[in-house]
């Protein structure tokens, strides 16, 4: 069964450093998402992306965050200057469409630790 692939599985960085989290969504999917989950808390929406542009973003997704689809297969999340509170599990997800009836396929996540 096709799956969403995320790399790396773990990333440790120093506060203030830039990180790039990478994702390969399922090939025929058109909508891409980033969610995050702080340990013990809810899965939170960060951003959705369709047709090479952001379609929706949350309050968490401030100017320090950016997303990109540099080629036909990868989808990246960049955090420009990491803060301690950015430590979380980051999940990439994709779906065929973006409206109702669309289930999301999640990757296994990247555990980001900011020291």
């Amino acid at each position: 069964e096709p799956e969403v692939t995320q790399t790396p599985s773990h990333q440790v960085t120093q506060m203030g450093q830039e990180v790039i989290l990478r994702c390969v969504p399922i090939s025929n999917h058109l909508y891409f998402y980033w969610y995050r989950q702080i340990l013990g808390q809810k899965v939170e929406f960060l951003v959705s992306f369709y047709n090479n542009e952001i379609s929706e973003k949350s309050e968490i997704f401030d100017d320090q965050f950016s997303v990109e689809r540099p080629d036909g297969s990868n989808f990246t999340l960049k955090i420009r200057s990491t803060k301690l509170e950015d430590s979380a599990m980051y999940f990439c997800a994709s779906s065929v469409g973006g409206g109702e009836n669309e289930k999301l396929f999640f990757g296994s996540g990247t555990q980001l630790s900011v020291l």
């Binding site: 899965v43 929706e56 999640f106």
Partner: protein, 113 residues
């Protein structure tokens, strides 16, 4: 803003029994509701979707109900097995047709043999 509440206490049941998990929401009328399973250190896995005009949906041992008057969904696992032990997440659409989901905090289910 939208608020989603799932029973925060972990649910411990005996193998073979039916597990019932609750999802309540306020300040909102979602077009659909989804249930996901999450294992430790893994991403959520889709289980079922139910639309606002559907009262009940079934898939194998799983059943979901959606009561838009009570603003509540119930998720049932019949003939539960130890392999069903996981955290179950309720998720609602945000109404903006962009596919964004709002998740509840999840209920941890433990099925004892």
């Amino acid at each position: 803003s939208q608020k989603i509440e799932q029973n925060s206490e972990a649910l411990n049941i005996q193998e073979g029994k039916t597990a019932t998990l609750t999802c309540n929401y306020t300040n909102y009328s979602p077009a659909y509701l989804q249930w996901y399973r999450q294992d430790p250190g893994r991403g959520p896995v889709f289980l079922l979707l139910i639309r606002e005009n559907e009262k009940e949906k079934r898939k194998e041992r799983l059943k979901v109900t959606f009561d838009t008057t009570l603003k509540q969904s119930l998720f049932h696992i019949t003939a539960s097995q130890p392999a069903d032990s996981a955290t179950y997440l309720c998720a609602l659409d945000d109404g903006n047709q962009g596919g964004k989901l709002i998740f509840g905090q999840g209920t941890e289910l433990s099925v004892k043999p």
